[in-house]
Amino acid sequence: MFKKFANWAKSRGGVHPIGHKEKSAESAIRPASLPDMLYIPLRQHAGASAIPIVNIGDKVAKGQLIAVAPTEVSAPVHASSSGTVKEITDIVAPHPSGHTAPAIVIKTDGEDRWFDAGKIEDPFKTPPLELADKVAQAGIVGMGGAIFPAAVKLKQGAKHEIKTVLVNGSECEPYLTCDDRLMREKAEHIITGARLVRYILQAYRVVIAIEDNKPEAIKAIQAAAAPFGSIEVHIVPAKYPMGSAKQLIQWVTGREVPAGARSTSVGTLVHNVGTIFAIYEALMLGRPLISRVVTVAGAAINDPGNVEARIGTPISHIIDECGGYSKPPEQIIMGGPMMGMPVISDNAPMIKGATGILAFSEEEMPSKNQSPCIRCTSCVKACPMGLLPLEMASRVNAEDFDSADDYGLKDCILCGACAYVCPSHIPLVQYFQFAKGKQAIAKDAKKKMEYTVNLSVAKQNRIEEEKAAKAAEKAAKKAARQKASQARKAKSKPAPTSAPESTKEESNEQ
């Protein structure tokens, strides 16, 4: 009781947007039909693009590896159905710029034939790091939208002593219900997945945090967790951004993650329920991440609901599964309305991190009529990080990014709570994204500059070294010649023993 009160006092900011979850939360997850073409982007994760290992014309099976991860912080890509590789080309990617991105295009054969990768006998008797490798090979990334490779987190976690595995089922974004449905329908699998993660990390306990607006998910998970002592279900208040790792950790453990540190530094590792489910499928069934549950909603959708869709399915195909458009959409968003990104075309494919596909009608979009800031401090009250968005924005406006950092830009999680409440409709997140982008460019440029300077210094040194070496050689030759002539002159005299030493000294001086 007291602890809860203390948490209320500590947990700051946050907003309570209208849920809009009712429609999609009530119908069961529908499996999407097989599309004719799959457009599987090579980069669906934080880190470098995957490298294709198939050729055009190759036959591939469902779950077959088609692109490998070039680095540790990257994820491989698998075919999400059987068929023929048609093209490896640039497609319209789910990116706000509308830029294209490389993808493998597969013409499906309708057989949906699995690739037999074999599965692990008993995962709970397999060494933890081997399991973490399996997770990496399955191409699993953070399914809550963070798209950070899950295995990297597991391996980092294995190095630290993890007390708490925090399974994030709070799903605080409006409209989204994919995690809610997953928890209701796959509770046991999620519990098994959570136990596997606990085993990999050798953690003390598992906490599954669910917002109090999902009573059925809570019931299902509680029932599935009951046989296992070390799995706790925490009911957290529905509040945005409760699902943000930092905020959830604070709520559950009472600790703040120190600035610049990772969750592991406070003995906690957070995974979304979708990620946990994917880990279950990878380790228990030997299936890589080739599909996910996605919420299709918004006023422009005829029949909102949750769809289990293959990665690479065109958005338009998934929307058709939900009865198509009821009216022309004003904006299609991938993810939730608070942090999702705009998609310029519904030809873009589904990716691993897509929690939602929202087609908003004109009335649903917020006003774009921006007016000057009146310093009402609504944004300060809403900020879950305790920052000063209005001051940050005015600094970004003046392109004074260092000062913006000083007012909190460096700690900003881009959750959008500030812009959600701003009565002046100032696009604060756009300001902060812009500033962070500029900072990244400046940082890159600085790195490049340093690299160039280092190279030129190295070149200078090398030239000097070469010069020195040449001079030394010359001196040595000269000395040798002198020695030879001296030897010739004084034929009978023995060579002075000090001569080679003096040459050495000379060359050293040079």
Partner: protein
């Protein structure tokens, strides 16, 4: 998709705009204002209307000159500023007082600084102070309440004459504010406690029947409006509480020390515009600090200046001066008082990393 201009997230909004905030504040002012109209009759209504109209016209002209979109007028800030000025004017002041006040507040107090959100000083208080210094006679001519339905109430024509044709105010109706009265009494050798016991009624003062500005004398109705704003989370408690408690503490200490020359705390709370200032004027977001601690310091500073000027200064009331004085400190307060960010100490350093032993202990305690 019809629009090509892409907007960054979020694609959701709470739904209240700037005009929503301004109009709610105006709504909260209605009870006190309506009561003012009742007490002071037609002249007060005319003065109020003239002030509002002048502010709207000034705002439109300013927007035109400054090449700003005309619809900025709809944000309601000009309406609110003019409303607050009118409430603090002597109720039977001539019409040009309202016009000049509104013009000064909007054109000089707000638009010259760069428009809404840019002004350093509260425009309404700036205008009130400018009027007080420039036209001391008109700005300190107080009248006794002459409510509608009583014998002293003015007719429509009489009201027009007072506001627009500078008709003389009947001698029987001229009065003084309690704060002014106290100042005079003290110079005449009457002690503060005697004055309060004989000349002053708390009930009358709190209800608002004592002479004063157009619509700031009814503490109870101001508090009603304030409760609405607190409930709607448009204002927060920090500034009003700090301001009022500073006045209470200071006047309480002085009263205990010497009750012949210092009035008791409740007299201060029930007199003048202190409630209006505490809840509606000092809380103006544009000119108040951002952080909670900054707001507390700001409110306390206002309270301190109010008490000093009321007690030892040359003016009986000092709320406007106090707010302007503290407005000047707002940038400084914003610089030094900031909320502690998540994961950082108050100084802005990252929090120390917990040790494994600490964490283990915590987990065990939780179980």
């Amino acid at each position: 998709m019809s629009s090509n201009i892409l907007q960054a997230s979020p694609y959701a909004h709470v739904g209240i705009g700037v005009n929503g905030i301004m109009l709610q504040v105006c709504f909260a002012l209605i009870p006190a204002t309506a009561f003012g109209f009742y007490l002071y009759g037609w002249p007060s209504i005319f003065l109020f209307a003239v002030t509002i109209i002048s502010a709207v016209v000034t705002e439109l002209l300013s927007l035109h000159w400054l090449k700003q979109p005309w619809y900025r007028i709809l944000d309601g800030s000009a309406l609110l500023t003019a409303w607050l000025i009118a409430m603090t004017l002597p109720p039977w002041a001539p019409w040009w007082i309202g016009v000049l006040g509104a013009f000064f507040a909007i054109a000089v107090g707000k638009q010259l600084y760069g428009g809404i959100g840019q002004n350093l000083f509260n425009p309404a208080m700036l205008a009130r102070t400018a009027l007080l210094i420039t036209f001391p006679l008109q700005m300190t001519t107080w009248v006794l309440p002459a409510p509608f339905g009583t014998e002293t109430a003015l007719t429509f024509q009489q009201g027009l004459a007072i506001t627009f044709f500078s008709a003389d105010i009947p001698d029987a109706l001229s009065g003084a504010t309690p704060l002014g009265d106290l100042k005079t009494s003290l110079t005449l050798g009457v002690t503060a406690s005697e004055f309060i016991a004989t000349e002053f009624s708390y009930i009358q003062a709190i209800l608002g029947f004592t002479p004063g500005s157009l619509a700031e004398s009814s503490e109870i109705l101001i508090l009603l409006g304030a409760a609405f704003l607190l409930w709607r989370k448009i204002i927060t408690w920090e500034i009003p509480v700090a301001l009022l408690s500073t006045v209470v503490v200071l006047s309480g200490v002085m009263y205990i020390v010497d009750n012949t020359s210092y009035a008791e705390p409740l007299f201060h709370l029930s007199s003048g515009g202190i409630m209006l200032v505490a809840f509606f004027i000092a809380t103006d977001p544009v000119t108040a600090p951002i952080s909670r601690l900054g707001k507390v310091v700001f409110g306390a500073g206002c309270g301190l200046v109010i008490f000093i000027i009321r007690t030892w200064g040359g003016f009986p009331e000092a709320a406007a001066f106090a707010v302007l004085f503290m407005n000047g400190f707002t940038p400084l307060l914003d610089r030094y008082f900031r909320p502690r960010p998540y994961g950082r100490s108050a100084k802005g350093e990252p929090l120390p990393l917990p040790t494994q032993i600490e964490l283990a202990r915590e987990v065990n305690n939780l179980k």
